[in-house]
Amino acid sequence: MAHFIDRRLNGKNKSTVNRQRFMRRYNSQIKKAVSDAVNNRSIQDITSGESVSIPTRDISEPVFHQGKGGKRTIVHPGNDQFITGDKISRPPPGAGSGSGGGEASDSGEGNDDFNFQISKDEYLDLLFEDLELPNLQENQFNSIVEMRTRRAGYTSHGNPGNISIIKSLQNSLARRTALAGGKKRKVKALQQQVDELTNQGEIEGQFVRELKKEIAELKERISKVPFIDTFDLRYNNFEQYAVPNSQAVMFCLMDVSGSMDQPTKDMAKRFYILLYLFLTRTYKTIEVVYIRHHTQAKEVDEHEFFYSQETGGTIVSSALKLMDKIVTDKFPANEWNIYAAQASDGDNWADDSPLCRKLLLDKIMPQVRYFSYIEITNRAHQTLWREYEKVAEEYSQFALQHIRQLEDIYPVFRELFKKQAA
């Protein structure tokens, strides 16, 4: 009478759609929480999930319910001291659970915020929603360098290694049926006739002999239909197709002269990490090259890039030169998608800035997909900014932005990569 059903193997995520609906509805609040969070998080865990909190009033589901006041009668259990007629002074407002009778479904009125976790993927989706890599489309065609092979149906010519046995035998069967099927039916009919005549006890007369001869002839012709013909053969076909290159290299250029202190470097680092995360969403493999410079540029590893202390003057062009050299040596522009992000406090040796512009215009910009320059400073712009502005006029894939404090990073990042109107 009773059925036991084991549902444990059924999907457990029946609520996924409802959860997505919830996320969709509160998208703007969640997004705000995410963008606040990106500034407050430590750099190491920038890719983990996030705890999001939404003010309860935004997600409440209102219903009519009774407010405070009026006359209420409540029966409580556990009387240990009262007798009829006792008067109890009212507890001060806010103390204890107060007026009781709290069956009204104004759930969660006491909580300030509605907290919940979103996964890493959801976090990154929200973080980079509506952003795109600029100029990706128009540049894509130039970068098609990798060819891959894929199946593409069948052909009638090809090399013996690629023979498709199933297709060939299907063709063979079809051809044999077409050529011999009618004859076989005829043989069968004639044979039946012969059998009938023989069964009737008739001795083998002229008619029967003729029938038998005809059968023999037909059988002969059937046997001449070959089992397999070159005509039947089919070969698996493969074709080459081009895929957009999925490898990218990201150059991080940073000024490490004395004027860049640790908080400034941290800000730069956050920017690099955002860019890196963003690139991972488009490209499968990403190389990162760290170039730091004061008067001389040097390729270093990550730790040294962010934490080693050096001082000195500033010659930005040294870093650009080194980058150009590394690109030429290791990352030819037709095989790699090259991105560069430069961070500096804007200090540069005045005579060097025009040289930087020249280097960018002539050598670097034609090769890179995108070059972003962020200036992290509270002071007025200097020569480097003005020279870079000229570069930006000529190349749309060059962008420069100004960051004053930590909170600017994410908005600036969004500004740089916001979707361009089609």
Binding site: A2, M23, R24, H65, T73, H76, P77, R90, S97, G100
Partner: protein, 503 residues
């Protein structure tokens, strides 16, 4: 008893399906011995995650998609992960066959307890209580839920998720006002038949009288005041909106109907919390004890059962930090147990209070009580002085105009009757939910809808949420919506109003 002759069932603690089957056979046999009449059972074993899914869809096995269920799921998941709450051992659905979900994590004694509790306790309650019998249709609920899910999904495709979500949001806000509280569905009675007949005749008559309409009418006077529409206040706001809102499209009306039907389906459960849980708890206790007496289960098994049973029926006192109002399991169990006691071992007091049941057949009396009452009437009929004494009930009066709250009755001779009435009133849903009804529609003017709130015991309406709900109602009605309150002195005052729609 026969302890030595009976083969004891394994007490686990792990369970497996053959063992569940063995236990079920025994429980079923005992349930039938006690005349528990049930729908066929469909027992499904699920995991904790699936239990959370079931939670968030408020126990519906299939539900349409809506963000609020997502919110509930996230809430449940969060508090479960942080260990703030455990999950229920089971969820049972009022359907035919009756679906019960058992958690995979339960031990075999727990599974047995849950089978007795849900599959025989709740199940028999669903099948036999008069509210469930007259208001819910266990045979068709699953089909209806499937229909509603598909219908709403279709609407989402046709009209967009946002449009559908808006309607469903508004309906949810008024869900408690989508039920008929007093009206009973009934077979068309003779008078109803006559009325319908009259309608048909009238219709024919209008066809005939059409000619006469063009004649000048001399003796017709203009009506002094426009009568209210509806003629009598309507408690079922959603129903009224569904049938009367001027601008709704048919798919929107259908969605209102779906929410209304589901609300109506759950309404009996709200009215019978104490009885339903008390009944199920009484039977898991009685059935497992019966099994123990027959020697079917071990001491170890019984200790685990009693441990859990005690946890379920604990009633913290008013001054305990764990106190959060009356525990329906505790009250219900105490009352059903007490009814059995009154039948089997009546005292003088019981004979005075319950002359008709003292000494009667306990099983008959219990079944009768389960079948014919809801919480409110059950308490006012069966709450005995002994239960009030045992639970140390006392009632307080909290009047905002007085400086003190006053103890109006305690568990003594003078207080029993009062306590019983007051506790019964506490379970009267129409006292707890604000009494708001559709009062009038300005049919000839601006088509505005007027609702009227009649306070119970001068308890005001929560203004903030009322304003929000009025916005939702305004979305459904599409014209101005007003909410009036009848003051203590009889005056009527507008307490909430939708922003004007005039452009």
């Amino acid at each position: 008893m026969l302890r030595d002759e009976v083969k004891q069932l394994s007490d686990g603690p792990d369970w497996n399906f053959p063992l569940l089957e063995e236990y079920h056979i025994e429980i079923k046999r005992i349930a039938e011995y006690y005349r528990l009449d049930t729908y066929p059972n469909q027992i499904e074993v699920i995991t904790a995650e699936q239990m959370m899914d079931a939670y968030s869809s408020v126990g519906m096995p299939i539900g349409y998609n809506h963000w609020s269920f997502g919110k509930k799921f996230i809430q449940t998941e969060q508090s479960y992960k942080r260990g703030q709450m455990g999950l229920a051992y089971e969820i049972v659905i009022n359907s035919n066959p009756c679906i019960a979900y058992l958690m995979e994590e339960n031990t075999i004694p727990m599974q047995a307890l849950v089978i007795a509790h849900a599959c025989y306790g709740h199940n028999s309650f669903f099948k036999n209580n008069y509210l469930f019998k007259s208001w819910t249709d266990a045979d068709s609920i699953i089909d209806y839920l499937v229909f509603s899910k598909n219908y709403i999904a279709e609407c989402e495709q046709k009209y967009g998720i946002d449009a559908v979500e808006n309607i469903v949001d508004s309906c949810h806000a008024l869900m408690n006002y989508g039920v008929d509280r007093y009206k009973r569905p009934s077979e068309p009675s003779l008078s109803e038949e006559k009325r319908r007949q009259q309608e048909r005749t009238d219709y024919l008559q209008t066809q005939v009288n059409e000619l006469w309409r063009t004649l000048p009418q001399y003796n017709q006077k203009p009506e002094p005041t426009e009568p209210n529409y509806p003629a009598e206040p309507q408690e079922n706001i959603l129903y009224f909106v569904e049938k009367n809102a001027p601008l709704l499209q048919s798919w929107q009306r259908e969605i209102i109907r779906i929410v209304r039907k589901i609300s109506q389906y759950f309404y009996p459960q709200k009215q019978t919390q104490v009885m339903n849980e008390g009944w199920a708890t009484f039977w898991h206790y009685t059935i497992t004890n019966h099994m123990y007496d027959e020697g079917l289960v071990s001491d170890k098994f019984m200790l685990e059962i009693l441990h859990n049973h005690t946890n379920v029926i604990v009633q913290p006192a008013y001054n305990s930090p764990y106190y959060s109002g009356m525990n329906p399991y505790a009250l219900g169990f105490a009352m059903f147990t007490d009814i059995r006691r009154i039948c089997e071992h009546p005292t003088e007091e019981d004979k005075a209070w319950f002359p008709d049941i003292a000494g009667s057949d306990w099983l008959d009396t219990l079944h009768f009580a389960m079948q014919n009452f809801k919480d409110e009437s059950f308490i006012s009929q069966y709450l005995s002085p002994k239960v009030m004494r045992d639970m140390h009930f006392f009632s307080i009066e909290d009047n905002e105009n007085s400086k003190f709250i006053e103890v109006s009755a305690i568990h003594n001779e003078e207080g029993y009757q009062q306590l019983r009435n007051k506790l019964s009133a506490q379970y009267n849903l129409s006292n707890n939910e604000p009494n708001i009804q559709v009062f009038n529609v300005n049919k000839k003017g601006d088509r505005s809808l007027t609702l009227r709130y009649v306070p119970h015991q001068e308890i005001p309406l929560d203004a903030k949420s009322a304003q929000e709900v009025i916005k939702h109602l305004h979305r459904l009605w599409s014209f101005d919506v007003r909410l009036e309150q009848v003051q203590a002195n009889g005056n009527v005052e507008i307490i909430s109003q939708s922003a004007s729609t005039k452009i």
